[in-house]
């Protein structure tokens, strides 16, 4: 009876874990956008207005001299990085590079490609240009559930999808 109860409890935890794990896959907590053409604070107000409407954005820091806008995510949320290029364009400027810092888990799709998947909001970033030094950690995350932190550059493809080129990959404790 005790063994049956224990088995049921383990199954219950496994089922819950199976349900919960896909929800907490990865979160983009920080985005740094290099904005071309931004030369004055009054004009940069439009950048602030548009970026504030990006899902998951909590705070924005604009640096005129460096030509960047740094986005920090709201507590417990992930920044929808796919909305960032359009926000910059709608403000009247040109997004040059978009660098993200994300934590979570890597997934492998049906074509065995490594993906950074976020469920809330739904985003899938295909990992490309992976350095040899990073591949082991990424595979470990995809196969063994190792939680990692990725810092990388986002690129928007012509079909509207996004890729992530990892620059730094580190294991992080849960």
């Amino acid at each position: 009876m005790h063994k049956l109860r224990l088995s049921v409890q383990i199954m219950f935890v496994a089922i819950i874990g199976f349900i919960v794990t896909p929800i907490i896959e990865a979160q983009i907590r920080n985005v740094t956008v290099a904005v071309d053409g931004m030369a004055c604070p009054f004009c940069a107000y439009g950048v602030e207005k548009k970026l504030k409407k990006v899902d998951g954005v909590g705070s924005i820091t604009i640096n005129i001299k460096e030509g960047t806008a740094v986005l920090e995510a709201k507590e417990g949320e992930s920044i929808n990085v796919s909305q960032v290029p359009k926000a910059i364009k709608d403000s009247g400027f040109t997004p040059r590079t978009i660098k993200i810092a994300a934590t979570g888990y890597i997934k492998m799709d049906k074509q065995q490609r490594l993906m950074l998947q976020i469920s809330k909001p739904v985003q899938s970033l295909l990992l490309v240009d992976i350095k040899d030094t990073a591949i082991e950690r990424l595979l470990a995350s995809a196969t063994s559930g190792v939680r990692i932190k990725i810092v990388g550059i986002i690129q928007e493809k012509s079909d509207g999808t996004f890729t992530l080129s990892p620059q730094v990959v580190e294991e992080v404790s849960k």
């Binding site: 604070p41 009054f42 107000y45 439009g46 030509g67 009247g92």
Partner: protein
């Protein structure tokens, strides 16, 4: 004593009215000022998509000679909206606070809503680099005869007029450069047609202290503004005391903080060649506040 050409057979009162209208029209530069643009010329800037801007400011003009004095004080109001990041529409609602004309010892004054205008600016070219934006835009505008043309001095031209313009500029962390040409096509009312206007402007500006977001930002500019005024026509005949060419040197500035801007400048005449007997321009002055939402 002002000499009126005999062959025109004008009454003195009619000539008086023409001077009022011309003085008024000169002050109607049809200019839409976005914050980071020349104060008296035209720039290529628009506003971000879906953005609203409100501008309220004062324009003061003084012209005089030994026989006449003209002074205008106008409250200039504008609403700006960004249809896209490259297409902006502006509604201008000028209100004449005080228009005075003192000619041959006769003084008249009036106040009220002046002619409103609607302008569209389309930025057709833009080149963005780190800390630098080069751009060019063209402008089309229409001025509607909403000012009371029966008041004395008249508050409106009584005609629907049109503006066409082309502007280009560079905005960078340190330097600003602007240039534009504009042409105002005046259609004329039943008897009076104010001469068309041609404007050409260049401006250079500098930011004396590096810009930081959420801090006060100052840019100072020096503008050169050229105006060519075609002769007016009354009952189909040229008015000899009308038309001419002017060149102004205009120091100006804009001071901004986040979405607020204070801007202003003064036009100082460097050269005036006004045909016939006309009061020369003493100065023109603008001071305005702009806020974006």
């Amino acid at each position: 004593m002002t000499i009126i050409p005999v062959h025109m057979r004008l009454t003195f009162l009619k000539y008086f009215i023409i001077r009022i209208i011309v003085g008024f029209i000169i002050s109607m530069t049809f200019n839409s000022v976005f914050a980071h643009e020349p104060i008296f010329g035209l720039g290529p800037h628009t506003i971000y998509k879906g953005g609203f801007g409100l501008e309220m400011g004062f324009e003061r003009e003084s012209a005089s000679d030994s026989n006449e004095k003209e002074k205008n004080l106008v409250l200039h109001n504008e609403i700006i909206y960004g249809l896209t990041e490259d297409l902006a529409i502006t509604l201008a609602l000028p209100y004449v606070l005080d228009r005075k004309l003192d000619a041959e010892g006769i003084e008249k004054s009036s106040s009220g809503l002046s002619d409103t205008s609607l302008r569209v600016k389309y930025r057709f070219w833009r080149h963005d680099r780190p800390g630098i934006q080069d751009s060019a835009a063209f402008i089309i505008g229409t001025k509607f005869p909403t000012g009371d043309a029966d008041k004395s001095p008249r508050l409106g031209s009584g005609s629907t007029d049109f503006l066409f313009g082309l502007a280009a500029g560079r905005e960078s962390l340190l330097w600003y450069y602007f240039g534009d040409i504009r042409y105002r096509l005046n259609k004329g009312s039943s008897d009076l047609k104010v001469g068309d206007r041609f404007f050409a402007d260049v401006a250079i500006g500098i930011r004396p202290w590096p810009a930081e977001y959420l801090k006060l930002d100052l840019v100072v500019l020096a503008e050169l503004n050229w105006e060519t005024l075609m002769r007016n026509e009354l009952d189909g005949l040229d008015v000899s005391n009308s038309g001419g060419n002017l060149l102004f040197l205009s120091p100006s500035f804009f001071l901004t903080y986040r979405n607020w801007a204070v801007k202003g400048g003064v036009q100082i005449p460097l050269y005036q060649n006004l045909y016939g007997n006309q009061p020369g321009e003493d100065y023109r002055f603008k001071l305005a506040v702009e806020i974006h939402f």
